[in-house]
């Protein structure tokens, strides 16, 4: 007789390749990150906030922003630690299907120019108990030959001493 017990599943891997056009603004942002290892941003002429990453219109006041280099400037990559999270559960990277090892620390930083930024907090053996809101942080950028024009060209942010500019 027909056996009704076994319920089957089809396993497969969805692999699709993409190549996204970065556009003139984000392309410049990623290009300058690759070239110089710095974050170039633009200030909205209408509401004056810094658009990071830069874009052609401000999402809030809908003013048009000038193209590079007018009105653009590089961020120092320095700021203060605002908040952080210790990620303790395994996550899959949708680009590779691999699980990112945990735990690792992810931080939100208030950069000196008045912009919020999120990135990893490193190095890997960073002791979480030393973290406090307000500590000075600085971006650690990969060497030029390793940079490809992605936000991970910044390896992580590290803690630095006050006045260490």
């Amino acid at each position: 007789m027909m056996d009704e017990a076994e319920l089957l599943a089809q396993e497969r891997i969805l692999e699709v390749r993409f190549h996204w056009s970065a556009g003139p603004y984000l392309g410049r942002f990623l290009g300058m990150l690759k070239e110089e290892g710095r974050l170039w941003v633009v200030r909205c002429p209408g509401c004056k906030r810094i658009l990071m990453p830069p874009r052609i219109v401000c999402g809030i006041c809908y003013s048009e922003t000038p193209p590079f280099p007018k009105g653009w400037f590089p961020l120092s990559g320095r700021g203060r630690l605002l908040d952080w999270e210790r990620v303790m559960y395994p996550q899959m990277d949708p680009e590779t299907g691999t699980i990112r090892p945990e735990p690792y620390i992810h931080g939100t930083f208030a950069l000196d120019e008045g912009v919020l930024f999120t990135h990893y907090l490193g190095p890997e053996d960073l002791d979480e108990s030393t973290l406090r809101e307000g500590l000075r942080v600085e971006a650690v950028v990969k060497p030029k030959e390793e940079r490809v024009g992605k936000p991970t060209d910044i390896r992580y942010f590290k803690l630095v001493e006050e006045g260490d500019d």
Binding site: L7, A9, R12, L14, F18, W20, A22, L26, L30, L51, M52, P53, R55, G59, I60, D83, E85, R86, V87, M88, Y89, Q91, M92, D93, P94, E95, G97, H106, T108, V115, L116, F117, T118, H119, Y120, K150, P151, T152
Partner: protein, 386 residues
């Protein structure tokens, strides 16, 4: 509003972690059938369909092609709606708009998710911009852990508040046979033993991934007298978009929620939400979000929600029942969740929620959904036609 619309039938599956006995089409068919049975209608009487889910979770796009002939939409007009976490409520809004516009008389909205079929967290990451943030995002869990820390800092709420909310939702879910997680949590100490995902967020603070489907049938005023069930009138609805979070650099903001609720309340003469609204089915993926968002919607002052929770104010048999179904924290098949909020609210207003029916006779119900890019949907339902 052009025509008055009413919900005349709801149906949902019994939500579980896995449903290996059905494929996607069959899962949707279960909800469609349950809904038609509830409404005492045949499929022939449904004029159009609004179908949706969050596509990447099953790795199949254009889901409506697959759903259509399992839910009885074969040869009928309709549209697919996929708006992430808000999909369910957006499906309801589109169904309301279809009927209110006069183009269709009776419309079924159906949403589902089969989340065990893909990696939910990987799927959620693809919502984020591939050019900029995808490599860095910690996804929904990261957002909600930040939200919890923010709420604790701003309001002085103690760390066990998340667990207290979970105890209420667990109590509600125990009474709701359709809920997914129907845990027995005896006391706070037990809840606080749950492992961390990202501190202070624990596993018990965050919603599960569920497999399930939900459907509602909406019709126009003219057809209501012919319907079997007591109608639940759709009073109003609103949707609000805001900028994707990363543009703001991760600064925490709930202005989209406040915008949506205040617009809805202003249009409908609601000045004292907690008094005038009888029951709220709030889309809140974490326990801490439920507290902050009750404040954001205007149900209480900032910092007041956790104090009211401590007093048990939001239980099904107390002053202002919130999520008597158990909420998103107990059941979350993403494409259906928003619609479950609307459906559960409708059941309450009809007096048909069985064991999880709130103790007081409800007149107005408030259902919401929220999605990853700060899209908020809010719906106001009424037991009276007015």
């Amino acid at each position: 509003m052009a025509r008055r619309t009413a919900i005349v039938g709801v149906g949902q599956t019994y939500h579980k972690a896995r449903r290996p006995d059905v494929n996607i089409g069959e899962l949707c068919a279960e909800a469609a059938k349950a809904c038609l049975e509830d409404a005492d209608l045949t499929i022939r009487e449904v004029d159009a369909f609004v179908l949706g889910n969050m596509e990447l979770f099953e790795g199949r796009y254009c889901q409506d092609m697959w759903q259509a002939d399992f839910v009885g939409a074969f040869g009928k007009p309709g549209i697919r709606v996929t708006t992430g976490g808000t999909t369910g409520a957006t499906l309801a809004c589109v169904a309301f708009e279809y009927v209110a516009s006069g183009v269709y008389d009776t419309v079924m909205a159906l949403g589902f998710e089969k989340q065990s079929e893909g990696d939910t967290r990987a799927g959620l990451k693809t919502v984020s911009d591939p050019l900029w943030i995808r490599w860095l995002t910690t996804g929904a869990i990261g957002y909600f852990s930040r939200q919890a820390r923010y709420y604790m800092r701003e309001t002085g709420a103690p760390e066990h508040m998340g667990s207290l909310v979970r105890m209420r939702l667990a109590e509600h879910a125990k009474r709701n046979p359709h809920a997914h997680l129907r845990l027995e949590i005896k006391n706070i100490q037990e809840a606080m033993k749950a492992p961390y995902l990202i501190p202070p967020l624990r596993q018990t603070d965050m919603c599960p991934t569920s497999e399930g489907a939900c459907a509602i049938v909406v019709t126009c005023e003219e057809r209501v007298p012919k319907m079997a069930r007591r109608p639940v009138w759709v009073k109003d609805w609103v949707t609000v978009h805001k900028e994707a979070m990363y543009i703001r650099g991760g600064k925490h903001s709930v202005e989209d929620l406040t915008m949506a609720a205040s617009r809805l309340f202003r249009r409908n003469g609601i000045t004292k939400p907690r008094e005038q609204i009888s029951v709220a089915e709030i889309y809140a993926p974490s326990t801490w979000a439920e507290l902050e968002w009750l404040e954001a919607y205007g149900f209480c002052e900032k910092g007041q929600a956790w104090r009211l929770e401590e007093e048990g104010h939001f239980y099904w048999n107390r002053e202002f029942p919130v999520n008597p179904s158990g909420g998103v924290v107990c059941t979350n098949p993403i494409g259906a969740t928003g619609l479950i909020r609307v459906a559960e609210c409708a059941l309450q207003l009809r007096g048909d929620a069985g064991e999880h029916q709130i103790w007081r006779e409800p007149t107005l119900g408030f259902a919401t959904a929220w999605g990853g890019s700060g899209w908020t949907v809010a719906v106001l339902l009424s037991a009276q036609k007015e």
